[in-house]
């Protein structure tokens, strides 16, 4: 059941038996699991989550204050679904795909009222449809019959729904249509509209999964450089509050080279969503130069919005992502935060008085998480094409303790782990990704891409950086005990090089116009410049130059300015020259 066909007749009436927060029980309701129902006199939207004899348990997506026993419950007979079609880009939805801008209009207030519905896509708007098939062609499920320009960036492909039979096209024409008008007819008698419906808890069909070999370029040095994510991969960002989860997620949404971004604000702050709504229409997409919003779909279910809709918003988001994947796009989905989603499951589960698992979470927590992350991947599509969904989930572990169930169950599934660290955040080292704890299992399969597209020796240079940082980690333990000056000179120099790696390369200022996005070539060249300093400095040390003199060469602090340099190629050329000259002049 999606918002668009709320006018269809209801099937069966039940009666409310009890109300406790978002959980309502009803008697005499003839319903299947996961059917959408309308609860009470106000018609609040809900979903069937348990059936026991004549008693049906419903989770309600809206506040239930004032709802009482005896009020009616109407069944729609259909599961929770989303409306799929042109108009989803550049939109902002709540957890059950009600467009928030339309709701504001309908409610006439800035506060979210109850019992108001709106279709997920505009049913009135006419779109210019351009056929890609001719009469007489044979089409199968998933095949593209035509194209609509959805936004300046995105061509929306109108496909044969996956649950159709397919057949010969008997009529198709170009022109302006609403999403509900038929644009093509098939010999099987099926009619194709731009709008499809799909139940959110069911993955859209696709062919085999492939091994991803292309990175999702994020423009963030530590992520691209040390812990890359593949297009079609999964990543988790756990971190205590204040460590920059949301900024990291937003940076990915802004700069990653996906075709489509689905951003889910799940149980997070209202002001953060507002920031996205205000910023994204103005920021240019680094790939196309068009507004970022033209490739973005936002789902906002803030922490004070009803908890049941928070549970469903993850599914709404991934279903929309799958729909664009089916068009052959590379989709990136950010979920901030999956912990709030897990807590919503916990809340509902405890109201159902289910037997709790670890820390009160339901026993099916691990299964739900893996089911969600498994909807990511690089897929063969049913129409023969290729598309991918990359999923990045933020995790908010209580007290920053990574041993809690949501973090642990997530880590068992995802292949890239960006661990955020409160200490780094406190000293304003951003992104506060802890390089000792994070990992990426995609490194090896992505190396060929870096070698082909950036530089041959990329894996070696990266490994050098990792080694230096590892060594620093060990040396720091000694420094804590005896002080830096007690170390031998070569180790002091290693610490100096590591400091530049941290401050000039790993650190990146999301608020600086230039530094906020770093292309792979620049990431490589910056690292190479620090390596030049390293190599020249060690040569000088071997020639007997004291480490103090090496550290004090004029050019070295300029390494810290590479990130913010606009003409970075020239800047780094000159810097490397100066470093070489000045260090060689010492001996």
């Amino acid at each position: 059941m999606s918002q668009a066909d709320q006018t269809e007749s209801v099937e069966q009436d039940g009666v409310i038996e009890s109300v406790s927060g978002p959980v309502v029980t009803a008697t005499d309701l003839d319903a299947r699991m996961n059917d959408v129902v309308y609860v009470g006199d106000e018609g609040l939207m809900g979903e069937v989550i348990e059936i026991e004899g004549n008693l049906t348990t419903i989770q309600v997506y809206e506040e239930t204050s004032g709802v009482g026993p005896g009020e009616p419950v109407q069944n729609t007979g259909e599961p929770l679904s989303v409306d799929l079609g042109p108009g989803m880009m550049d939109s902002i939805y709540d957890g059950v795909q009600r467009p928030l801008d339309v709701l504001e209009d309908k409610m006439g207030t800035a506060f979210l009222d109850r019992g108001v519905d709106a279709p997920g896509i505009d049913l009135e708007k006419k779109w210019e449809f351009e056929p890609e098939v001719a009469e007489g062609d044979t089409v199968e499920p998933g095949d593209v019959v035509g194209v609509v320009e959805e936004t300046v960036t995105i061509d929306h492909k109108v496909m044969v729904p996956p649950d159709y039979e397919g057949g010969e096209v008997t009529s198709v024409e170009s022109g302006e249509f609403t999403v509900e008008e038929t644009v093509a007819e098939l010999s099987s008698g099926e009619e194709i509209q731009m709008r499809q419906e799909w139940p959110v808890r069911q993955a859209r069909p696709a062919g085999d999964k492939e091994t991803p070999t292309e990175p999702l370029v994020t423009g963030q040095r530590i992520q691209d450089g040390l812990f890359p994510l593949a297009k079609g991969g999964t990543a988790a960002i756990p971190g205590p509050f204040g460590s920059g989860k949301t900024v990291t997620q937003q940076q990915l949404a802004k700069w990653s080279d996906a075709d489509i971004v689905v951003y889910i604000g799940c149980g997070e702050r209202g002001n953060e969503m507002t920031e996205v709504i205000e910023d994204f229409p103005e920021l240019p997409d680094p790939q196309t130069g068009n507004p970022l919003m033209a490739r973005t779909c936002l789902i906002a279910n803030t922490s004070n919005m009803p908890v049941a809709a928070r549970e469903s918003c993850i599914y709404t988001g991934i279903t929309i992502a799958e729909y664009y994947r089916d068009m052959g796009y590379d989709v990136a989905l950010m979920a901030d935060s999956t912990s709030r989603w897990a807590e919503a499951m916990r809340e509902i589960s405890s109201r159902l008085e289910e037997m709790p698992g670890e820390e009160g979470y339901p026993a099916y927590l691990a299964a739900s998480l893996s089911e969600f992350y498994e909807r990511a991947g690089k897929f063969q599509l049913i129409n023969g094409g290729e598309g991918s969904i990359s999923v990045v989930g933020a995790v908010s572990p209580p007290g920053g303790d990574f041993s809690e169930p949501v973090t642990q169950n997530t880590l068992r599934i995802v292949k890239t782990f960006w661990a955020l660290d409160a200490d780094l955040a406190e000293r304003r080292h951003f992104p506060a990704i802890d390089w000792n704890e994070s990992y990426s299992l995609y490194k090896d399969q992505l190396d060929p891409w870096w070698e082909a597209n950036v530089e041959d020796d990329w894996p070696e240079v990266r490994q050098w950086a990792v080694d230096v940082l590892d060594e620093e980690d060990e040396l720091q333990e000694i420094v804590q005990l005896v002080g830096k000056d007690a170390l031998p000179e070569d180790q002091q120099l290693t610490l100096e090089v590591a400091r530049y790696l941290r401050e000039a390369w790993l650190q990146q200022n999301a608020l600086h116009d230039v530094d906020t996005y770093c292309e792979p070539e620049k990431t490589y060249r910056m690292l190479q410049a620090i390596k030049t300093f390293n190599d020249e400095a060690f040569d000088a040390l071997d020639a007997g130059v004291p480490v103090d003199e090496i550290q004090n060469v004029d050019a070295a602090p300029r390494l810290n300015r590479m990130g913010t340099a606009e003409e970075w190629n020239e800047f780094i050329d000159e810097l490397e020259n100066d470093l070489e000259e000045q260090l060689r002049a010492l001996y």
């Binding site: 409310i16 009890s18 109300v19 406790s20 029980t25 239930t64 204050s65 004032g66 709802v67 009482g68 026993p69 005896g70 902002i92 928030l100 504001e104 800035a110 506060f111 979210l112 205590p240 509050f241 204040g242 604000g265 149980g267 702050r269 209202g270 002001n271 969503m273 507002t274 920031e275 709504i277 205000e278 906002a300 803030t302 922490s303 004070n304 908890v307 916990r346 809340e347 405890s350 709790p356 820390e359 009160g360 908010s396 209580p398 007290g399 920053g400 409160a422 406190e426 000293r427 304003r428 804590q480 005896v482 002080g483 830096k484 000056d485 401050e503 608020l511 602090p557 810290n560 300015r561």
Partner: protein, 473 residues
């Protein structure tokens, strides 16, 4: 309205009664005891034939003969502009001996969520006059910025100082000087009578009371009432902000008492507990309070929240500060060590944070060097802090000249920048200039977070030389 004498069970703050007609969830209930006392409560669960009621004033005096009346509506707060200057109890009844409140309207206290699409992003700088906040963790209009404190720390003094001094600078220059002042809504939950007196004395002494609405639930008032007090306060704040165009500062203290009350009710209802016995829905419940801060597009007013909470055992991983930190837009952290050193206010800036700071500062808002100065001071102070551990082991002499400068910086940062006293109101200019005084102790090359042009403009060559001269002596 039907009256029942059908109470079947009384347990802690909960009363169970049989009913023969449907009762709405969250509805308000009046219970009259045989002694003639009227208690108020709220429907927690409503089933066919039986309801469970949570009684705000506690269940003392109720017996099975008490009569139960269902009012047929959820809890409402009578609101009017005349509430300014009034003192109310935790349930919203006047306790200042003043006239009866004539409401302009009655608002549901649960409050609906603000549509994220209708919000306006907060980016107007509030000058609190406290350097540790203005300079390092800037507060903006519509933000929710809690104070994380501990028992025995002077969080109340800091909250009062903010309430007294908070202004928005541009408006202070305008002709209407009162225009920039905030209306203060003060919600006290479970504070002691002594603390309450301190607050009231300060409000009266500074004349702040006439632009304040005070809700008092004291330590010996019923715990269950604490569930209602912040909602009454926020409903009043929303009315003043979004109907009457006030900029409202809401101070809620102490959120820890609120959460304890939440746990008490959860336990009485025999719910499955979450971490440390707090209910699993505490995150959602707290969010429904904190998220009521903000700005709305097309409305003049704003609601800014400063909730205060005492961290049990000074532990910020305890569920109360932890869940709060995940919802609020940063936190101001009070520190016991700084307090014992006599620093006023004892704000530890390192774990403190204001998430909305970046958009509220800079050219045209505060000063163009604000962001860089704050970043650099953070980094330098953190480095100095690290070095202190080392000094304890190897002594100062074993450290390099550069390291010694960072140590000095950390010391002076605490004793000059953070230390200012509760009656000292510093403008943002003064705060930033003070920042440059301190940063100029460090070598220029060490200022890697600041734009080179800004260094050229603000760096004081003389300060560095002076320090060196002193060292040479």
């Amino acid at each position: 309205m039907k009256e029942y004498q059908t109470i079947t069970e009384i347990s802690g703050p909960l009363v169970f009664a049989e009913v023969d007609e449907p009762v709405g969830y969250d509805e308000i209930v009046e219970i009259e005891t045989p002694q003639g006392e009227t208690l108020r409560g709220q429907v927690l669960e409503s089933s066919e034939g039986i309801v469970s009621i949570q009684v705000f004033e506690g269940t003392g005096g109720i017996d099975r003969n008490a009569s139960v009346r269902f009012l047929g509506e959820t809890m409402k707060m009578p609101v009017t502009e005349d509430l300014l200057g009034r003192v109310l109890d935790g349930s919203g009844n006047p306790i200042d001996g003043g006239p009866e409140i004539v409401p302009e309207s009655r608002e549901d206290i649960v409050g609906e969520a603000i549509n994220p699409y209708s919000r306006e992003y907060p980016e107007e700088f509030i000058q609190t006059g406290v350097s540790a906040i203005d300079g390092m963790n800037t507060l903006v209009r519509g933000q929710k910025l809690p104070i994380f404190s501990g028992s025995g720390l002077p969080h109340n003094e800091l909250a009062l100082q903010i309430a007294r001094q908070a202004t928005v600078p541009e408006e202070a220059d305008g002709d209407d000087e009162d225009g920039s002042e905030f209306a203060v809504v003060f919600g006290a939950m479970g504070i002691t009578a002594e603390e309450a007196n301190e607050f009231m004395d300060d409000f009266e002494r500074t004349g702040a009371l006439e632009r304040s609405v005070v809700f008092m639930n004291l330590a010996d008032d019923p715990a269950v009432e604490r569930q209602v007090t912040p909602r009454l306060a926020l409903t009043t704040a929303e009315y003043l902000a979004f109907e009457k165009d006030y900029h409202v500062l809401v101070i809620l203290t102490d959120m820890t008492n609120y959460c304890e009350a939440l746990r008490e009710i959860g336990a009485a209802r025999e719910e499955v507990p979450g971490r440390r016995g707090y209910p699993g829905y505490m995150y959602t419940d707290l969010a429904q309070l904190y998220e009521r801060a903000g700005r709305i597009e097309g409305k003049e007013g704003s609601v800014t929240q400063i909730p205060i909470l005492t961290m049990p055992g000074d532990d910020d991983t305890h569920p109360i500060p932890d869940l709060t930190g995940y919802i609020t837009e940063g936190q101001i952290v009070m520190d016991r060590d700084l307090n014992s050193q006599g620093i006023e206010p004892p704000v530890n800036v390192l774990p403190s944070l204001s998430r909305l700071m970046d958009d509220g500062i800079g050219e045209g808002l505060t000063r163009e060097d604000h962001g860089d100065v704050s970043d650099q001071m953070y980094a330098a102070y953190a480095e100095g802090e690290d070095l202190r551990d080392l000094v304890n082991i190897v002594g100062r002499e074993a450290l390099s000249e550069r390291d010694n400068k960072f140590l000095d910086f950390a010391d002076r940062f605490e004793t000059e920048f953070v230390q200012q006293g509760y009656d000292n109101n510093r403008s943002i200019e003064e705060t930033l200039d003070l920042g440059w005084d301190l940063l100029s102790m460090l070598p220029k090359e060490a200022l890697n977070r600041i734009d080179e042009e800004l260094i050229a403009e603000h760096y004081r060559e003389d300060v560095g030389e002076e320090a060196e001269a002193v060292q040479a002596d």
